[in-house]
Amino acid sequence: MNHCVLSLQQVTLLRSSRQILAGVTFQVYRGELVALMGPSGVGKTTMLRVIAGLETFQSGTVQVEGIAINGANGNPPARLRDLRAKVGMVFQFHHLFEHLSVLKNVWLAPVYARGVPQREAENRARALLAALGVEHRAHAFPRELSGGEAQRVAIARALAVDPPVLLLDEPTASLDANRRAELRDLLCGLTSNGRTLVVATHDEEFARDCASRVLRVREGSVFDDTGIA
């Protein structure tokens, strides 16, 4: 049907002889919002990290927009950089750069990784912050933000380099019901222009309301919920 943006093929990851991922295989198509569902500790976060090129794994292949990394041998740094250019990530604890203002957190990568002129990057950063409703915090430092604000800034930072695939790790963990509804609208809006989202969550309600497809994760393997292959 649609264009396959992201695929994992038999990905196995061992950490000090404990199996974290046991031959994970799934595909994600353009414009989907896929929820990786499951209780804590089953390997959801590790899957996101594998897709982002932050984990080395023992076997299998990860492919994002035609860039493949595999587990057998080490991957050249240039390939990892190419992969990361396709993927954005919003961490559970956001990891905003603590020494930089909100605005600079957002324009840093466009300028220093993509070579966008600073003025242009700053303007775009302001626009992104405005779209996410946190432009009034542009000059604040991460330590001064609430959990919800920090998350929006982290999303803005990830979107600033315009990745075709955006990964979010437990985005509802620190939000109340109202904020959760806002986040759902926000994420759905993000998929409308062809961006693909993969969200790791243990929040059933959020997954039901929000995801176009739910993948169940159990003991390091993925089971399709909906029958879409």
Binding site: R84, G88, M89, F91, H95, L108, Y112, A113, R143, A158
Partner: protein, 504 residues
């Protein structure tokens, strides 16, 4: 290297001697039959020296005079090892009854201590490189030139006067060997010191000549505390007898320093004629009040503080630049680079900074002739770089991995991750230990006085020696160091507050 070896040998011999002799002191401290006398074996032959063949034995004419005195008062001589510039204070506080180590008779000593009658007359003579024999005959010929001497001596005071009168640049040394070696290699243009010292150096170092015309005439005396005046009078009688019966002459002949000046001096002393402390030079009148002395020394103390702060800031800058490079190399470099840098760090922090300064200034002088300030800057900078690098290495490794991953996932190269995220965050961890190190460096900078750099502690020591008290100079010196370190500590605290991390 020869000079370094010789000074190291002196140092080693001195240390061994000191260890043995100190033990002897302690063991005998209770005995009332001891005659405790203070000297500095680093001054070397022919005054007081550890016997090169038997380092636990002292030899020298001062040693023999002390033995002579002890014998006459039926006591056992016990040597107390005291740094030359501290002998006065040490005698004053009772560590020893008499100081005897080529100590000069000065009006200040006559006013504050109980010196013996002079037992030897010396001339302050100018030594110059052989090629300069014709053009540098007197201090007046040395306008704008660097002239070295031992700090805290009459010769140094003469040079301070010559600085005012002729524009000579005085250079103060802590020992009497390096002025001559620096003269020969051209770091300084002349040395003003006692003829005894000059002639001794001339025997084993060629390349310089002693000008025949003496600049001033001085005398060696023993010094006692004023409360020991009775003992001093007894010692004076012993010295007069020794002048009469030729025992002093035979001691000085043995050490090859007997000359025609001595019989003339003895004749005047035995005829009870007055002998001026110093002739040919108007020594600063003693009995300056502490307040006058303070006013007199304040400008030079402030100048010395400036040297201290400028040197410390530049050395810290060098240490930071090198330290950051070393730390980066140790975190990111290849295995070979990592082990080389680790070797450097261990070498620099595992050996005394004093040794490193000596090697830089004197040790490699045959290869690279660094100016004193340059060697001091380099020595402090290279040494502190090792400590700084460890701070930065720890700080780099303390940056949360989440921050690094966030930067990597945004597509920043490893270099950008380091310069934009990891480095700036590490700096925040490093700030407090860096401040600590800078303050330590500020104080360690006092070590560079061994390279003739005139900084605050050295200037204070001279001040204290000249007025014979450490109270005011010590307080003033402490105040100046605090005035330099406290603003820095405050600045660092402010920065830390501004950079405070979220604790979430």
């Amino acid at each position: 290297m020869k000079f370094l070896r010789s000074s190291l040998r002196h140092l080693a011999v001195g240390l061994v001697a000191a260890a043995f002799l100190r033990t002897a002191d302690v063991g005998a401290a209770a005995s009332a039959g001891d005659f405790r006398w203070a000297g500095d074996p680093e001054g070397g032959a022919p005054f007081v020296e550890a016997d090169p063949r038997q380092p636990d034995q002292l030899v020298g004419f001062d040693v023999e005079i002390a033995e002579l005195i002890a014998r006459k008062i039926n006591r056992v001589p016990r040597f107390v090892n005291i740094t030359f510039t501290s002998i006065d204070q040490s005698v004053e506080r009772g560590d020893a009854e008499m100081g005897l180590s080529g100590i000069e008779d000065t009006p200040a000593r006559r006013a504050t201590m109980a010196p013996t009658i002079p037992y030897y007359e010396f001339r302050e003579v100018l030594s110059v490189r052989k090629a300069d024999r014709a053009r540098f005959r007197t201090l007046a010929d040395l306008k704008g030139r660097r002239v070295g001497t031992l700090g805290g001596t009459i010769a140094y005071e003469i040079l301070l006067n010559a600085e005012r009168d002729f524009g000579v640049q005085p250079v103060s040394y802590d020992d009497d060997v390096h002025p001559y070696s620096d003269l020969v290699i051209g770091r300084i243009d002349a040395v003003l010191l006692d003829n005894v010292l000059a002639e001794r150096r001339a025997r084993n170092l060629s390349g310089f000549a002693i000008q025949p015309q003496s600049v001033a005439i001085g005398h060696y005396v023993g010094i006692l505390a004023v409360r020991n005046s009775a003992l001093r009078d007894q010692i004076n009688d012993i010295l007069r007898t020794a002048m009469r019966d030729g025992s002093l002459e035979s001691i000085f002949r043995k050490w090859r320093v007997w000359n025609d000046d001595q019989p003339r001096l003895y004749a005047r002393l035995l005829a009870a004629q007055p002998v001026a402390a110093v002739t040919g030079f108007q020594a600063s009148p003693m009995a300056l009040t502490a307040w006058q002395a303070l006013l007199g020394y304040l400008p030079s103390l402030l100048r010395a503080s400036l040297v201290t702060i400028v040197l410390s800031c530049l050395a810290m800058f060098l240490a930071i630049v090198l330290g950051v490079s070393i730390a980066t190399g140790r975190v990111y470099g290849s295995r070979l680079m990592r082990s080389l840098l680790t070797g450097y760090v261990e070498l620099m922090r595992g050996t005394p900074i004093l040794l490193q300064l000596f090697v830089l200034y004197y040790g490699i002088a045959d290869l690279i002739r660094l100016p004193a300030f340059g060697a001091a800057l380099l020595g402090l900078g290279l040494n502190y770089a090792a400590y700084e690098s460890e701070i930065y290495r720890g700080a780099l490794q303390a940056v949360p991995v989440g921050q690094l991953e966030a930067a990597r996932i945004l597509g920043l190269s490893e270099t950008r991750v380091l310069t934009l995220v990891r480095g700036p965050l590490a700096l925040r961890f490093a700030l407090a230990p860096m401040t600590n190190d800078f303050i330590a460096l500020l104080k360690d900078s006092s070590l560079v006085s061994v390279l003739t750099v005139f900084e605050l502690t050295k200037q204070t020591q001279i001040f204290a020696t000249n007025i014979g008290s450490w109270v005011i100079p010590g307080l003033l010196c402490a105040a100046l160091y605090l005035a330099m370190s406290l603003p820095l500590a405050t600045l660092a605290r402010r920065l830390e507050q501004r950079w405070r991390f979220s604790t979430a």
